[in-house]
């Protein structure tokens, strides 16, 4: 149901009253009831409050410079504009730090910026984090040439001359060689290629290639150089460095690469839209995009395995969402099941092992189940367990291992980041 339909007319009125200070106690109670009971209402509330919070800034910025002052490229971290502020910060007056940043958000003239050498073909559309182009500051609205683009945090969006759209997320390092060639050595990048950019190629740290055939796809490279590719729309062709592996992938397909493997080995699965992929490691999201939930410990023998991480679904008042994916080869699956109530897991064998995770400083554990799976559709059941407060468990994370993998898991063998070890490849 659309959030804009008449069912939410009353909620719009309540939200306006909240923002303008005209909401009475009955209205407040009614708004609270709707938001607690209806995830769509909660989403609309968030949407509305973001608008409310952002209008003042945009009223100023939409007629002036739409972003923070761009630092001088020559000395990006020591611009004349900020130096006095930084010296004040050096005095460790913490409140000044916070106050100064508030001031900095006001509109201000954009510093003069010198473009780097070379023909520019990269337009930076937006950047919400710290972006550097060959170690100098990058900024929204700037155009640059062949360079290494390094995002420290947040997101950044580029448009290449070949009309390829590039989105970076989090700490990411991407070398753009020309409008049709890039190398991703770290982080997450999503590429959207129009038909005229067919053949756009992304190289991975081990020399593997992803060649676009008219599509949108996401590439993720972790600190160890292991990569994963997920096709969001269209078709790509993945090629191993020595041509020993060559795979066409279409919408929903995902593949995990192992850096420094003798040959590219991969396992293509067909994934649901509401999931992300990664490898099991300390820090992996336990639930996709959910309150910073992340893994804090897991059995060493499972570290490094390809992981399918689903989204939360309708919220803690509902069962953790089940999902399906397609396996193209036999595999041994491991399921991380939130220890909350009891949930039916027909066909899965319970192990003695567990993993742990944290969300908002609250620690939780998973019990690990396993089963062999043949090529075809794999049904991951929803988590129906409920705690005494009526909160449902989060969805199950599924790990994919070679079918020969034998589970000999022990709860005593949980690991931490420093103990993480690479896991054998899947094939």
């Amino acid at each position: 149901m659309s959030r804009t339909d008449s069912n939410h007319d009353a909620l719009f009125d309540l939200l306006a009253g909240l923002c303008d200070g005209t909401l009475d106690e009955a209205g407040r109670a009614e708004m609270q009831r709707r938001i607690v009971e209806d995830p769509d209402a909660a989403a609309l509330y968030v949407e509305y409050m973001h608008l409310h919070a952002s209008v003042p800034q945009h009223l100023n910025l939409h007629v002036a410079a739409p972003s923070l002052p761009a630092p001088s490229r020559a000395t990006p971290e020591r611009s004349a504009h900020r130096k006095p502020i930084m010296y004040a910060l050096a005095a460790a007056v913490v409140l000044i730090v916070c106050g100064v940043v508030m001031v900095q958000l006001s509109p201000a003239p954009v510093s003069e910026v010198t473009e780097p050498a070379g023909s520019p073909f990269v337009s930076i559309i937006d950047s919400t984090g710290n972006l550097f182009v060959n170690n100098d500051a990058g900024y929204a609205g700037g155009t640059f040439g062949a360079a290494t683009y390094e995002l420290k945090s947040g997101t950044a969006e580029f448009l290449l001359a070949g009309r390829v759209s590039v989105n970076l997320e989090g700490e990411t390092r991407l070398a753009l060689h020309d409008p049709m060639n890039a190398t991703l050595s770290r982080g997450v990048a999503t590429f959207e290629c129009p038909p005229e950019a067919r053949g756009f190629t992304v190289k991975l740290p081990d020399g593997s290639h992803i060649v676009d055939l008219g599509t949108k796809f996401q590439v993720r490279v972790d600190a160890a150089g292991d990569a994963s590719v997920r096709v969001i729309e269209g078709v790509v062709n993945c090629q191993g460095v020595d041509q020993s592996w060559n795979q066409s992938m279409s919408k929903g397909h995902a593949v995990w690469f192992r850096h420094q493997a003798q040959a590219i080995q991969a396992h293509v699965v067909d994934l649901p839209d509401n999931s992300s992929i990664g490898r099991l490691e300390v820090g992996l999201a336990r639930v996709d995009r959910y309150l910073d939930a992340h893994v804090t410990g897991a059995p060493p023998m499972l570290i490094g395995l390809p992981a399918v991480v689903p989204q939360r679904g309708a919220g803690s008042g509902h069962p953790g969402a089940g999902y399906q994916f397609m396996l193209t080869k036999p595999a041994r699956l491991y399921l991380l099941v939130h220890d909350r109530g009891t949930t039916a897991l027909d066909g899965w064998e319970r192990t003695s092992a567990s993993s742990s995770w944290i969300v908002m400083d609250r620690s939780f554990t998973d019990t690990i189940y396993t089963r062999l799976a043949q090529p075809g559709v794999v049904n991951i059941p929803e988590h129906t367990g409920v705690d005494p407060q009526g909160l449902h468990g989060v969805p199950n994370v599924c790990l994919i291992a070679p079918p020969s993998e034998q589970a000999s898991l022990s709860a005593a063998h949980s690991t931490t980041a420093s103990e993480s070890s690479a896991k054998g490849d899947i094939e």
């Binding site: 719009f12 306006a16 968030v46 973001h50």
Partner: protein, 185 residues
């Protein structure tokens, strides 16, 4: 004044990380504490706490996300604020906070797209509506000068509040349309 270069660099690094996300952190706090002045106060406390704990943030770690780190700290400042306010103010329930925090996280990846769209949509509203919005948000914590403006126009304040509600809804619809078009482009 005694200067310590390392401290200066650290402050510089903090500034570089904090400035781009401050608006998002404030929006996050305002969803949890929908009172402008309170949210600003919590933002200040969050900033102080972030600076105090900044050594714990390792920007070089693979999973480092400064906004996520900031939002966890902000969430705890909100909880502290709620403890302080429990006896003096009528608060939203814990269930409400959980539902909103969950929704804010679930839709957090759309914030940047929405902010871009807002810039575009504000240019599309009529000059009269834009003036009304500007009037309202000139002093957001004090709910603007809507009542005084209504008096000067000789119309009930309620008329202007309804107009504000209508413009905000138009902006929401415009933002959704823009974000969807961007996704389909």
């Amino acid at each position: 004044m005694h200067r310590e270069p390392i401290q200066t660099d650290r402050a510089d690094q903090f500034f570089q990380l904090y400035a781009p996300i401050q608006q998002r952190v404030f929006a996050y706090i305002l969803t949890l504490v929908p009172h402008w002045a309170d949210a600003e106060e919590i933002l200040q406390e969050t900033c102080v706490a972030m600076w105090r704990d900044f050594e714990q943030f390792d920007a070089d770690r693979a999973d480092s996300d400064f906004f996520r780190w900031a939002s966890v700290i902000a969430f705890h400042r909100v909880l502290d604020f709620r403890k302080r306010q429990t006896r003096s103010k009528l608060m939203f329930s814990d269930q409400f906070i959980d539902a909103v925090a969950e929704a804010a996280t679930r839709h957090g990846d759309q914030i940047d797209r929405r902010l871009r769209a807002l810039r575009h949509c504000l240019q599309k509203v009529s000059p009269r509506d834009r003036d009304l919005i500007r009037l309202r948000y000139e002093t957001p914590a004090a709910h603007g000068n809507v009542k005084a403006y209504a008096e000067s126009l000789g119309c009930p304040a309620d008329t202007l509040y309804k107009a504000l509600a209508r413009v905000r809804r138009q902006l929401i619809e415009c933002i959704r349309l823009s974000v969807n078009r961007e996704a389909e482009a």
